[in-house]
Each structure stands twice: as C-alpha cells, then as structure tokens.
C-alpha cells in the first residue's frame, strides 16, 4: 500500500451540527417499493427454474437436430451423452456437479458481479438502499471496500470468461443447423440463434468491456478504431439493464423449448429438413 496517501484530517465535517429532525423515515409518496419487489420476484423465479433444470441432468439434448441447451453447454461430466459433449467428458458424474460445471460458475460470477445486477440485488435483496431516499436497512455499511464484496472487482475476469463462453454458445448454435438428413433448420434454431445474439449483446454491453475496448484510454483521438468500438459498446451499454433481463428470458425460453422438444411434449417446427 505504498500509494496510500494520508487520510483526510480528523474532525467530521459537519459533525457538530444536527440534521433536520424529520420524523418520517421516508416521505416518498410514489410506489418506490414496486421496482425492488418485481426484481425479487423475477430473480427468485429464474434462479429456482435454473436450479431445477441444472440438477435435472436430463432433457438437455435433442439428438435429431443437435439442439443443446445453454444450461448444459459445454457438457463435460461422464454422465453427458457422448454426442452432446463437444469438449470431452472430464468431470465425474456426481449429481451435485452440474453438467456444465466448467462454465456455470463463471457465468454465475459474471452476472453476480455485473454492475447492473449489483444495483438490482443491493437494492431489492440487501435493501441497501431499497430505493432512492429510502433508508438503508443496515446499521453499518462499508460498501465494497472489504472482503467479500471487494470481490466484485473480479468482474473483469468474469467478463473475459463470459466472452469465451459466449463463443462456445455460438458454436453450439452453429452445430444445431442439423437434421438426420444433414443440414436442417427449424424454430429451435431461431431460438438458439436469438439467444446467442442476445447473450453477445449482453456480454459486449458490459461495463468492463466498455472499459477494455476504449474507456481506459485518455486520448480517443489517437486511437480512432478503439474509439469507434467504444462508441459502439457505449451505445449497447445504455441498454445493459434491459439486456440483462432479456437474456434471462431468452436463456429460460431456449432451455424450456429444448426441454419440451427433448421430452417429446412438442415437436420442433421445421422449415428445412
């Protein structure tokens, strides 16, 4: 910590004087609790669904069309169907190990440390604060200055990992243009490709990505290409929140569709073969 500069001089600024004694904890009259509530409902529902699916260890592969759900990509345990395991089967098949155990932790980390999700769960789960100008539910607060929340700085690593995983998902989506006759194309492909596009949009709109592509530069004028990249990412970045929710939706939809087809509940709508 050689760079640490001296702390600001003692003496709390303004500590001598009292704040206004306003009795009400918040005077907001709008429905400020609505957004956190929706967030809680949405996230809990999704996490429940995802947990169930991840530990189902079944109905993740449509053999005819090579559809693989993103929740099992890449499938790397000994339990995986050989044709679904594009990257080998290296992990033991205990039920507690998800079949995509090499990627899911990173995806989880990516979303957990995502600057949008942080806002979402700090507000709605941790209530710190639940909404603007509504009091924090905690007595003490140190923010992200110490362990474990200091770990939020791992977002950069998680972003690098997520970029690689998006590439794997893209590969899955390409392999899925398949039918028993060779090339094929159905509604499942549309869903898979749509999901991958959204995943890329979400990953690239990440604040870390924005920083790496150009945000860290001091002089845009000296790096015109990176400036253009940054401008592009910045445009996506504005929609980071929407993309975060959209991808939750597309992931669940993709998975559910593949589960439904794999279980034979519905049959895939085929356009070609």
């Amino acid at each position: 910590m050689t760079t640490r500069t001296a702390p600001p001089p003692a003496g709390l600024p303004g500590s001598v004087r009292q704040r206004a004694a306003i009795a009400a904890r918040t005077l907001r009259t709008d429905r400020w609790w609505f957004a956190p509530l929706i967030t809680v409902i949405g996230l809990v529902a999704w996490v429940t669904y995802a947990t169930v699916r991840v530990f189902m260890h079944d109905r993740y592969w449509v053999g005819d069309y090579h559809y693989l759900t993103p929740f099992y990509s890449p499938c790397v345990t000994e339990r995986c169907l050989p044709e679904a395991a594009h990257f080998g089967r290296v992990l033991p098949g205990w039920w507690i190990i998800p079949d995509a155990a090499l990627t899911l932790p990173f995806l989880l980390l990516f979303r957990l440390t995502c600057y949008y999700y942080r806002k979402a769960y700090y507000r709605s789960f941790w209530l710190s604060p639940p909404a603007c100008a509504v009091p924090d539910a905690h007595k003490r607060y140190t923010g992200e200055t110490r362990f474990p929340l200091l770990g939020q700085n791992l977002h950069r690593y998680a972003f690098y990992a997520a970029a690689i995983i998006s590439a794997i998902n893209t590969w899955d989506a390409i392999l899925a243009f398949h039918s028993p006759e060779g090339f094929g194309f159905g509604l499942g492909n549309v869903i898979l490709v749509g999901n991958v596009l959204m995943l890329w949009a979400y990953t690239l709109s990440c604040h870390s990505c924005r920083h790496v592509t150009g945000g860290r530069l001091k002089h845009f004028s000296r790096h015109p290409v990176r400036y253009r990249l940054w401008t592009f990412v910045s445009k996506l970045n504005v929609r980071h929140m929407q993309l975060a929710w959209i991808t939750l939706g597309t992931l669940a939809l993709t998975d559910f569709y593949i589960m439904a087809v794999a279980s034979g509940w519905i049959s895939d709508l085929r356009f070609i073969n």
């Binding site: 907001r28 100008a133 002089h219």
Partner: protein, 354 residues
C-alpha cells in the same frame, strides 16, 4: 417572484406541508397556497414568503436550474425546487417539502452543505502540463467530451444528499467523498492534458470509491442528467481494477516493472520531505514516525500577532467601558479565536493516532 403581474388564469388552492425548524427541532407545518398554471415549487415558496411566512428560509438563485441552489426534498425525493413543476402533482395532492437530510440543518429548508466544500478542497486539483504556455493547449473535441459531461455539474449536491453511504451512515462521511467528487476525479483522470497519474489510487484510497455499491441513486436524481454511475464511477472503478486486480495488467507490470516505478513516484510525491529529527520520540520505528508526523503541522504558519484593536483616536482603550467589547483585546490579534482547533496545533500527543 414571477407572478406579480396578474396571472392569466386564477389559480387553485393547494395543500403544502413544509418542514420548519432548526437544529433544536422542527415539524411539518401546513399551508394552503394559491397555485397558478405553469408554476414550479419554488414559486409557491416565494408566494409563501411574500404572504404567509416572510421568514421561511430557502436558498435560491437563478430559478432556471443552472445554479443548483434550491435543492430540497419534495415528497421525499431530492429535487430542485425550480425544476419541479406543479403540474406534476395531482390537484388534491399534498406536497411535502423538507430540507436535505444528509447535511446538518440551519433553518427551515436551508442546510449546511460545507461537507461538500471540504471534500472539494481535498480532491487534488488539475495539474497542468509544465511545458505548455497558456495558448499552446491543443485538445481534440472527442478527448474533452467525456470530461465536459462532468463539468456540466451545477453542484446542487442532490447526488451527495441521496447517496445512502452518507445519508444513512453519518460515520462514513470522513472516508467518503461522494458522487460529486467521483465525477471530479473522473473528469481530471480523463482530462487529455492532466499530468497526475495517481487519481485512480487516490479515488480508491482517499475518496472512498469502494464504498459505492452503484445503486445509481445519484444518477437518478441528477438534474443535469449526468450519467454519474455509468460514465464516471464505474469507469473509475474499472481503472482501479486495471491497476490493482487485472491479471493481465498485473502480469505486465511485474514483467516490465512499470507499476513499481509509478508507485514509487507517487509515494515520493505524497511523502513529506525527509526531516532531520524524529516526531515519534525515540521509537525509531518508521510507522510511528509517519503516524506522529501526520498529526503535526510543522509547516503551519503560526498566526502573526496583530496590532491590538484601537479606538477612533488610534489609541488603546483606557478602560473596558469605552471599548466595544468586554475585557482586554487579545494579545494574539483579533483574528485568532480560542480554543484553537487541535488540527492547527504544532503538537501531537505521543499516543495520538491521527
């Protein structure tokens, strides 16, 4: 006071609750006020001052959302009084106006915002390039645009007020500068010609950047629409990550020893110039030395004794009765008040921590 000339339409009477009081306490007081079409909350306060409550204290200046003086909380949300149109409320809605909660109260809607000015003073200023004379500065528009966004700040301190880090936790005030000064740090770090390269470290170590949990309330309340979180705080956090946590950058700095040189440089800049004698007694321990030095302002200018106050004939008053204040004039001059604040003393107790 925009409505002295007869308004086109007669107004409606609305119910207001305004917090009146000072540091010894206060309460919400009810008022019935006339409101005309096209008015803002500040107009209503002015009408109250002119009619029912001439001593209602409220700061304001430009009435156009450019100076950031009339910050207040309207129905619980931090807002500018001059930018909150009455048409945003229902006709029968009660409007509650309170002072900013985060800062100490002075009276009614006026708070003591000196916290912000103290933090401003602690933030290192622009460091101009030494080799450029005035008029030789060349910068490209794309390079200044990011910083220009932050310079739109009108210092209304709504972001400071709404930030829960200090709003709900008074104890964090010494360690946390607040969103206003994060955008200042970001502005300077992105300034194409600023020569300091330790602003990220400073933001992390001394401004309390880590306290921010990016819940974005600062952005939500900013009347200038500055994307405080997305464009300043998060980029600053990412820049800190660059230096401290990024594996690739860390590896690079280990290999090229770049980070080390920079760290040494900043350490040199921030450390006081070596002094011959010890302030930490005979412990000879480097830590204690630094600790003790911090409490001692060896460079502080001792207030120069001023000539005592004299009367109209230029003489010292003969007796207290003929003078304008009780007791003899201070031998330390008229502008030294006692007790002196401890931080101004040239003495640190050996056990003193900071």
């Amino acid at each position: 006071m925009g409505n002295q000339d007869a308004p086109v339409k007669t107004g409606t009477t609305r119910h207001f609750r305004i917090w009146r009081g000072d540091e010894s306490g206060g309460e919400l007081v009810d008022y019935q006020v006339e409101v005309n079409e096209g008015e803002v909350v500040l107009d209503v306060i002015h009408r109250l001052q002119a009619t029912q409550a001439p001593d209602l204290a409220c700061r304001w200046n430009c009435k156009a959302g450019k100076c950031g003086s009339c910050s207040m909380e309207i129905n619980g949300m931090p807002r500018l009084g001059c930018m909150t149109r009455m048409s945003t409320f229902d006709d029968n809605e009660t409007v509650t106006i309170t002072p900013l909660r985060t800062f100490p109260i002075i009276r009614d809607l006026v708070t003591d915002v000196s916290f912000n000015y103290e933090k401003a003073r602690e933030t290192p200023a622009f460091a101009p390039p030494p080799d450029l004379a005035p008029g030789e500065y060349r910068m490209q528009q794309v390079d200044v645009e990011r910083s220009q966004e932050f310079r739109k700040c009108i210092e209304c301190f709504l972001c400071q007020n709404t930030c829960h880090v200090i709003r709900d936790h008074e104890e964090n005030k010494p360690a946390f500068s607040g969103p206003r000064f994060f955008i200042r740090a970001a502005e300077l770090d992105m300034h194409p010609l600023d020569t300091r390269n330790d602003r990220k470290e400073y933001a992390q170590a001394s401004q309390g950047l880590g306290y921010c949990n990016i819940t974005k309330c600062c952005t939500e309340v900013c009347p200038e629409g500055i994307k405080i979180t997305d464009n300043a705080i998060i980029p600053m956090k990412e820049r800190v990550v660059d230096r401290r946590y990024d594996p690739l950058v860390w590896l690079g700095s280990k290999i090229f020893r770049r980070g080390q040189r920079e760290a040494e440089q900043t350490a040199r800049e921030s450390a006081p110039v070596g002094t011959a004698h010890s302030h930490a007694g005979a412990s000879h321990e480097p830590g204690a030395e630094a600790e003790a030095e911090r409490g001692v302002h060896w460079g502080r200018q001792v207030p120069q004794p001023q000539a005592p106050a004299v009367d109209s004939r230029g003489r010292l008053p003969i007796s207290e009765f003929t003078f304008d204040r009780p007791a003899a004039p201070s031998p330390f001059g008229e502008d030294v008040t006692f007790p002196m604040p401890p931080k101004d003393l040239n003495y640190a107790h050996p056990e003193q921590k900071d």
